[in-house]
Structure formats: C-alpha cells, structure tokens
Symmetry: D3
Subunit: 215 residues, 6 copies
C-alpha cells in the first residue's frame, strides 16, 4: 500500500466529505463522538481494521485478535477499530500505541474509549476515541476479527479505504473513489481559498455563492 | 440438562432477583429495555447463548453462528442473545422462532430487535426483545460465537445459568447459585403471601415490615 | 382534601394541558416515558409526593420514607414519586400497591420503574411508570422525603396539586390554578365536540379552525 | 395516485425491507421508536409528507402548514410526518385524525409524539408514533412545509414513495423501485412459506438455508 | 441596537443566570452540550437568530436562509442558531465565520455541530457548538427562517435578547429584563468578591452564607 | 486519615483499575463522562462523600448539606459528589472550591455539572465533572446527606475509600483493598515499564505478552 496523496496535509476531513457528497457517497464520516486526543492532530492513510465485541468473561486467549492485528500493521496504515460504541472500558492504551507506532502506523481511530492518555500524549501518537476509561478491556470487550469491514455508526470502513482524521472528526474515502476524491478535494481547496478572500472583503454570501457555487 | 424446578410458574423474576440480592449477586437482571412480546409470557430454563456483533458487509457465510446455535438447541433451553444493544436491525424473526421451537427451546431473550412479530405472536413463541425493526440482520449484525458467556448491560449470562423471564423483565441465576436461589424464592413467595394478607387488612407498612422483614 | 371535580372522567390530560398553556403554565406534563400499565387507566386526584434518590448501600432503616409516605396516604390522593429518572431498579411493587389501595389512594405515577406488574394488573391498581425491572430498590434507590415538591423532568409537582393521568401521559395542575383550569377544560371539551362534528362532515381544517379557534 | 398493489395485505414491512436490501437500498426503515398505536394495524400507501420543526413562540398563523397539508390529502395516501425526533409535545391528535380520515388517508406515521390516543383508538384510525404527550404542539413544534422530502432517522421519504407500516415498524419504498420491490416481495413471501414448512418439520436451519437461500 | 453594558467582561453567564433566577426566569441557559471552541472565549451581545431543520434532499435554493441571515448581521450581534439538536452534519464552518465576522458579529452559539474548526480557531472567531462533523449541511440540515424566536433545549431566544457566552455555557437574558439583570449582576459580582475573601480566610460556609446570603 | 501511599504520583487510575480487576473488584471506575477541568490534573485521597438529589423548590435551608459537608472536610480528603447524573444545573462552583481548598481538600469529583470554571482554573483547584452549566443548584439540586455511601453510575464510593483521579477518569479503591491494591499497582507499574521497552524495540505483542503476561 505504497500509494500516497502528496500534499494531503493541505486538505481536511471536511473537504473530503464534501467531494464524497458530490460523488453520491454521503455516509462518509465516523460518529461525532470520535474526537482527537489533541486538537492539532491530522493524519491520513489506508485503513487497517479491527472489529471488537462486548464479552462477559476472560477469553481463552486474551487480546488475541488485537495482538494479531497490531503485529501485522504496515507502515503508513491507519488503524480503525469498531467497538459497537462500547463505553464499558478502554480498548486502547499506551502499550498498544507503542507497538502500533513501532510498526509505522500513523494513528488509530475508534468509536470506543482509550486510556493511558497521558503517556499516549507524551509519545505524541495520534489517537481519536469516544472518550476515556481507566478500565482494561479484558473480560469486557474483545477483538473478534481484523482485516474485515467494520461499521462505526452508519459509516462502513473496509481495509484499504483511505481515512482522513483531523479536528473536525474522521472522513473515510472508499478505496475505489480515492483517486477521484482526492483530486476533487485539491480542486475544491483552491476554490475555497478564492471564496474566502471574496467574503473577507465583505461581499455578501449570496453574491459570492452565486458566482462560485461554493459554500 | 434435564433438571427442572417444579412449581417455578408460581415464582417471578422479582422473587429470584430478591434472593440473589440476598446471596450477594446484585447484577442479576437484563436491561429494562428487554420486554416480552406479550405481557403474559413467563418462561424459565437453562441458558443457551449466542453472541453477535455489528458488521459492515455480508459475511462469507451468512447466519453461520446463528444457524449453528439454533440447530443445537436442546429441549427446555432458553436462548439468550447478546447484541451489544444493537438497534440497526432485527436479529430475530419468524423462521428462527420456528426452528428454535421445533428443537424444544422455551423461548428467547435478547437486547436487540426482533421482526416478524405478528407471526411469532401467532405461533405463540415467547420472545423478549428491545424492540422491533423490519430490517434483516444480514450485513448489519452477525453471530460471532455460541455457547460462550454473554453480557447484556451489566448482567453476565453463562451457558447453563438459569434464566427466568416474565412481565417484569429477565432475571439470570448463575448455575452454581440455582439450587439455593430457587429454594429461597419458594420460601420468600410464601412469606409475601402472608405480608400481602396483612397489608390488605389495612395494617401499616411499618408495622408489617417490622414483623415480617419483607417488603 | 375532600374537593373533587365532578365529571372529570370526561376530561383528559390533553385538555388540561391545553388550558394550562392558555394560563401561561407550559411545563404541565410529566416526561413521555411515564406510561400507564394499562392503556385504559384514567385517574385524577390531589398529589401526595415522595422524593427518592440513588443509594449505594442498605440504609440504616430501609424503606423508611416510602413506608411513612404510604402509611399516611389519604383517600382520593394520587401518589407522585420522583426518582431522578432512575432505571437501576423498581421503586414500586405489589405490596406497596396493596397498602396504597387500602388507604384509598387512586393510583401512582413515577418516573422510575415498577415490578410485580402481573399482580398489580390483577389488583387493577392504576400505576404509571417509566418501565419495569425485577430488581428491588433496597440498596439502589431510597425514599428521602415525602410531602415535598418533586420534579419529574421539567415538571414540578407540589403536594395538593391536581394530577390527571391517562393514556396520553400525566398532566399536573398547580393547586392555585385548579378551579380555573378545570372550569376551562370542561368548556374546551364542549368546543372540541362541535369541532369534531364539523370536521367529520368534511369541512376543511382551515375553515373550521378559523371559525372556532380550536385545534 | 390510483395505483395499488393488490394483495399487499399478505406482505410485511420486513419482506419489503428485505427486497430493498437486495436492490441495494438499505436505509429503508423508519427509526424503531416509531410504533403503532395498536399492534394489529397494517397500512400501505403512497406518501404525503409534512416537515415540522421546534419553535419557541406561537407562530403568526398557527397550524398553517399542518392544515394545508391535511386539507389536501388524497384518498389512499399515507401521511409521513418528520419532527426531527421531537419529544416536547404531541404533533398529532384526534381532530387531525378526524380530518385526515374524512379525506381518505389510510393512516399516519411520525417520529414525534401523538395525543388523544384514546379517541384515535376509538375511531380506529391507524397511527404510528414515537410516544405520547398531553402537550399541544402550538408554540412548541410547527409545520414548515408539506409535499417535500422528509428525513426520519436515516430514512428519506419523498412524496409518492410507497410506505408500508405494520407491527415491525415502517418500511419506505422509493417510488422508482416500487414495482420491482413489490413483485419481488410477493415472490419472497412464497419462498418463505416453503422454508417455514421445512423448518417446522425439524430440518436443520443450515440444510434448509443451503437449499433455499432464504432466512 | 447600539446599547451596550460597559464592563460586561467582568460578569459571567453564571452571574446572569443567578439574577435571572431571582427575577423568576429560570430557563435561562442553553443546553450544556453547547461548548466554546476555546475555553477562554467570552462574548456578549444582542441575539440575531436562525432556525434550522433536518432535510432530506438538496433544497431548491441551498443555504438561502443561512445566507440571508448572515448577510444581514449587524455589528455587535451574536448569532444564535437552533438546529433541533441535530448531530447529522455541521451547520457552521469557516466561510460563514468569515462572513459573520466581516459584518461585525461577535460570535455564534448553536445546538448543532460545526466544522472547519482549525481555521475558525486560526481566525479566532468565537463559536459555541455541540460538537464537530466533517459533513456539510447541504441536503441534511437547512435554514428555515431568521429573525424568529428559536428554542434550544428549554431555553427560548428571541431576536434582541441579550446572550452571554463563556466557559460555563450560554445564558440568555430576555430583552425586557436586560437592564435590571445586568444591574443586579454587577451588584452580585461585588458581593461574591467579598464572600470569596471571607471564605479564603477559612471562615465556615455556613457562617459566611448566614451573613451575606450569597453562595 | 493520616495514611498516604508515598509515590502515588507514579501510578494511574488505569493501574489501580487493573489490580482491582485482579482482586475481583470490577466496578471500580466512575462513569466516563466524569472529566477533569484540566488534562494534567492528578489527585489521590480518601473519599469524603456528598449525596444530592433533584429538587423542585427552594429548600427551607438552602445549601445545608453541601455546607455541612464542606465545612467538615479534612486535609487530604477528596470529595466525591453523587448527583444521580443531574444535568439541570451546576452543583459545584468557585465559592465551594475556595472553601474546600482552605480546609485542605485535594479536589472534587462529581457526576454532575460545575460552573465558575474560569475562576476554578485560575485557583488551580482540581475538579472532575460531567460538564458545565451557568445555572445554580438552588431549587434544582440539593445535598441530602454527607458521609454516606454514594453511587455514581455502577461504582459505589464509601467514605474512606481511596479515590484516584487523572486524565483517564476516576478509579475508586475500597478501603479494605487499598493496601493490597496500591502494593500491586506499584509492582505492575514496574512490569509495564519493562514491557514498554520490549515493545519499543519492535518485538511482537504476542511474544512480549506471552513472556510477561502484561498488556
């Protein structure tokens, strides 16, 4: 998965969501509860996926799927973890962050909770999560499969889809739309720069929108 | 699993929850969203379990775990399905009910949704669910494992635990407490009958509670 | 509290809420989660109140406030129980119903859960609750005070306010507005009967509303 | 809109949702909170739509959009009301039901609350709602437009789409898929009848599913 | 709307809410989900209002009401946007911020989501919102009217009401109470300073509260 | 309560929750909505407790239990306030913080809202809360008792239990487990340091977990 989209740092999850709307793909964002540990984080990469489910007892082989998933992460990948919105414990933590980083993962996004936030921030490893808990996942939430499609809210993420996470949240670009979507996003970015300049001069929104069709 | 508790029909989920409180087991009830299709339903049996998780795509072998679980149900068993509180689709329906009944299952309780409610009511097969949806589970929610402990809310159910479901909800009696719990529940039932008679005569609650220690 | 409003059975919680809107009192309804055990129940009476709070341990004197409150209920009173929306257990049950009924209470409304629903229905004692649980309140939820104002959602109920509960929910009429509110409700009831007749003939809503000012 | 689908009463919202899944249209169901006033209700018809929003004051012309919408209902239409999930008051009631029925509407579905449930049940007018409130909509929730697309949860309903409501909830069939969807639903219904017979004989789910591909 | 309350920067939303309580106006705060993009933001001004609702399709004239509203903002105004608590998309963003700022608006508060948070923070334009989403409002949420009363949670805001937003949230002062409320808030501020000094010396709360009547 | 656990600053709520899991005490964390005002706060101390409940009117003696509780705080204590998850107002504020600090309390954790956040941050007094509101508690939420067990979510806190609050949330160590739990937590901390070093070298998670049994 050596492809990249040079200059992606100029883009945003909002720009990608906009062009995906234009391509007819409207469920492109993870739920708004998924927030970055630090507002300035911005990452982009092809998705590796992990699916988790609530459990009621220590599994025979604890952390099996989590470990298999993370041990196989490839440089540049962005890990997406689906937890069915679990709030009972923290799926993610410092040791998993350490291991994910050493494999070259650019970050992780999940619809569950994290912990060890203080050390993760010290490592400066970008994590998006739905909140925090001191409680370990063992006997509460367990990895079930990795490398499979996951659903977070109404957004489906498949391995290899391009994920873009920033302060506004997380947008997911289906792999087969990625080339077109990134191309259009760079275009739209240029258009928005012009619109911003016009508006900053005091021209009315209606007039500028009529002229550029961008808002 | 040929054991039964003769006369269980006189008991209630509330009586069992009370004696489990007394035995120090206080997380004995499924979440209150789990409701019977018909108020009069009352079932009791050892648990068979099925764990499900949200999915994002048609699995390679759809319904695999559900079918394996139901095809192995034994007479008298009560199926408990954990869905992580899914509301995206109906895990249960008429055809699964038909198959569960023909194997002798006494009913099913789940923290997700059901469908085909009209036909299930016609069959008079007792189902407790968190609501209804016309949407099939395929590509939305999938069985992951059966015969494993499941957690519904903060209540853990293990295969072989005794489950009692009625209009007040669902109580789960851990297998190793079952003999003692049912014995105490029959006792408490007799005590409550006496208390009810005293109260119906108009004696103050305080006086009757002081005398019987039951409320 | 011997006052009554003869003919109240023709009225509804909706009619009373409407006239209270007209009197500038717009927070007149308990939260919509408060539902009758049986759709046909309809009760009206001056409020007796009980305030409860979540607890974490068996109180020194369990059920103390509940028992004091119920032992002092007067004929015709309608018990309103505030639980801060508790869903952890059932505050109400059969034995409390037995005692409340024997004192002449007309029914109970609460924003928490009930149990023993089967026997309460057998007694035909009108209960409105937010749901059901097998779990007892002991060590989970405890009465704190009775005869004090209680708040359920954004509706305040003071002892002596008039409460009207039916299939649409529960309206609360402040004591000092009661005479005027009931008088206007009887009037509005007559007006609605005329409007219904006009509409049933097929006259347009706009026309009828323009004429009668009632919808 | 004189088209009908003769024999629709044999179908169900679940059958239609299934065939829509097969046609790639997966957001076909209203949120599960939308429930029938009576479990036995089953209606089907082309949608008329009304969009509402929360308001903070008596509008200049109260009920304007509601009245315009209902006064224009055509025989056979099924009214779909979007309220943005409002729980602050009842949008629907007896007088609107009276007027909708007299115009020939087959029923109404909404993601908000209703009132006058007792009288609506007496009229036997089929209503699906998210619950009940005694509070009128005036100054709380107001019609904004009718005859426009509405969104209830993640399901979009456009005027003229076919809506099917029963005990399992509400499925919405986009107008341009309706012929194909109903044709397939009748087919699938026949298939399910065969599957049910096989399962009732005790054949394993896996075997029957392998043979018929239906579950 | 040239009036101002000089020295308002010393006040807080809490002080204003307190004096409004004392004036009998107790629904003075927006829901607690409405949070500032930066904790240090503090703004105050007369309200301009915009009401939005969920939509299901691209409107004929997208952004019409939003653009009309913002193009008419006057210097010093504070824009209040009601979205019925929408979480499906971002109503607000960078370009609207640019335009609002150029017209002299002091900031915006809304019960929906924003996006472009990074650039809005760069502009240092004060925004209070219920969260973030990359998704545009087009075809999801639409402006319906501006210059009308709006309701956010149980707080009504009318055009011209005085809105005060800070780290604790947002208080809304009805226009006709504004003079009295601000006067009392300045007074209470002085009283609290004295109380704080007494408490910091170690005097018991009970003693100080008995003396000053402020807590 | 002069006992301390020297070196506790090296620990974390996560470490304590882990060792409590190992001791069979799995409900050790306050709900994840309880968040620190500043991410860097970390406090530890024996619990003083205050129980609150929603009220509907100015109590006869406002703030009575709050004042009694705070006036009796002892140096080193950590105040735990249970509000039944109230979101209607702010229980905590600057003046209470001033008084708690002057008595030597190390901080406060609560499942309700706070206000005066700006001044509390200026004082640098550590507060964990579920959010913010400008509204005072008077007539909305009232202290009922102090020095009693309180329940926040499914976590029970008794006076004298050891509470540890940091960026990941709040862990509560029952008094009778405290010596053992802190001893184990210091041990586990050393183990995690070794595991982190191994992982940072690039060794697979599975291998390191197999060797150390820590993740």
């Amino acid at each position: 998965m050596s492809k990249t989209f040079p200059g992606w740092e100029q883009l945003s999850s909002a720009l990608l969501a906009d062009v995906l709307d234009g391509l007819g793909h409207r469920h492109s964002a993870l739920p708004p509860c998924v927030r970055p540990l630090k507002p300035g984080y911005k990452i982009c990469g092809p998705a590796a996926t992990l699916a988790c489910m609530p459990v009621a007892a220590d599994p025979a082989r604890p952390y099996e799927a989590e470990m298999a998933c993370i041990d196989q992460l490839k440089p540049g990948e962005l890990l997406v973890v689906g937890t069915a919105g679990d709030r009972s414990c923290a799926l993610w933590g410092e040791l998993l962050s350490t291991s994910a980083r050493v494999r070259g993962a650019v970050g992780v996004v999940m619809d569950g909770l994290t912990r060890d936030a203080s050390r993760i921030l010290d490592m400066d490893f970008p994590v998006w999560a739905a909140g925090f808990s001191p409680l370990d996942s063992r006997g509460r939430l367990d990895g079930v499969a990795h490398g499979v499609p996951v659903r977070l809210g109404d957004c489906v993420v498949r391995p290899g889809d391009w994920v873009f996470a920033d302060i506004d949240g997380v947008a997911c670009v289906p792999a087969d739309l990625a080339d077109e979507a990134f191309r259009r996003a760079f275009d739209k970015n240029r258009g928005e720069n012009r619109v911003r300049d016009e508006l900053a001069k005091g021209r009315p929104l209606r007039e500028v929108f009529a002229e550029y069709g961008i808002l």
